[in-house]
Symmetry: C2
Subunit: 238 residues, 2 copies
């Protein structure tokens, strides 16, 4: 039986990814990374989702790296979380330096030591503009490096790379238990009990449900904010 490790942030994308892999005939475990983010609510939701789904879950603690990851609103308390659309220039401060390579390195280490076939993560088409390490220029060579890091080859799976977040919501809605798992997932950068509705990931989340035409069970403090926010025009060459 094929075996996989899913990188599970506790957010919407990785939660749907985990659920979708469970519907295939394979052995699945989940890995969350504490990289010293501003809050740990996402990680609590990751643990809850794994409990609901009966999936083995580990959290790797990289919080000791925090002093090396300055300048991001997610790991540096002196940088405020911006409000607005995910793809705006102001959102660059939410980028954690080299987050994906760090997470994939740890997952690959665990995969090698447990002879697991693949590592899966939930990067999607909408991530490309903001997160350089969600682009194919990053993923493709990293996949090759992962395959060659040990005599035991580990494959990188990124099934959402060509689809949008709205597509992920549509997929999640079709999977058994999907609506419940999506409601259990947590995306907000602020880390409150309810989603704030105003940060980049809240706006992206609410818009994805609306675009998909799927009921959004998320509890937002300011639900209507996303309607006032539009994506910035793509940058044009000078």
């Amino acid at each position: 039986m094929k075996s996989s490790i899913v990188i599970l942030s506790g957010g919407l994308d990785s939660s749907v990814l985990l659920l979708s892999l469970l519907t295939q005939a394979r052995s699945v475990r989940a890995l969350s990374i504490n990289y010293g983010q501003r809050h740990s609510r996402e990680l609590e939701h990751a643990a809850l989702i794994c409990k609901t789904l009966g999936v083995e879950h580990r959290t790797a603690d990289l919080s000791a790296l925090r002093p090396l990851l300055a300048g991001s609103s997610q790991t540096d308390d002196t940088v405020a979380v911006p409000h607005g659309h995910y793809a705006e220039e102001t959102m660059k401060v939410t980028v954690v330096p080299n987050r994906n390579m760090l997470m994939l390195s740890v997952a690959t280490a665990w995969a090698i030591s447990t002879k697991t076939d693949s590592v899966a993560y939930g990067a999607h088409a909408g991530d490309h503009a903001q997160y350089p390490d969600c682009r194919e220029e990053f993923c493709q060579p990293l996949a090759e490096a992962m395959a060659n890091a040990d005599w035991h080859r580990v494959a990188l799976e990124r099934p959402f790379l060509a689809i949008s977040k709205a597509d992920i919501v549509r997929l999640g809605n079709l999977l058994p238990g999907g609506p419940e798992i999506m409601a259990e997932s947590y995306s907000c950068y602020e880390g409150g009990e309810y989603h704030c509705g105003r940060c980049g990931t809240c706006v992206e989340r609410a818009q994805a449900f609306a675009e998909a035409g799927v009921v959004d069970r998320t509890l937002y403090k300011d639900y209507d904010y996303w309607k006032t926010v539009t994506a910035p025009a793509p940058a044009t060459a000078a």
Copy 2:
């Protein structure tokens, strides 16, 4: 001025690498990784070498990953350190799963957050047989992933990739202060006050000095052991 981060284990190769980069006109900082190895003596020597050279030094603590890195004699106390030649089949237990990708990921994160031009590490030709993540099939794609992990591009430098450990000793011997820095470096897997002389890295170290014709100032408990050990014949195709 060009800026670089050197991955410094405290062993011979990375110590000579650090020294050689300092002789070039560039700004250099050093990063050591505590990945929960059997002992921390190498890290103490890394700190000492940086103090001697007046180089900024950070240690990233990844020891929380230890439960994910089972099966290596370096991170799993239930696995004994083997004696003999570095390139023997028995040495495979000393491989820490995905060690280089983990170290390079952390160094790249720090390089991105400090807008540093490059990350340098001391993989050399003799590492290839034993450590899959010292081969070009790993390094080349990883270098490409590192360059594309952020809008700030980080280069991977591996100046020793085509030379032997004996060549590194020869180089170290020619650099100002090199003999002293090599004597301050520490390689032994056992972690005692003196080098054991019998583990794979001790044998490799002693043989490299002998091959280079350079005085070995290292204090070994069993200095003559390396003379009794020869490299295994290369595996031939069936």
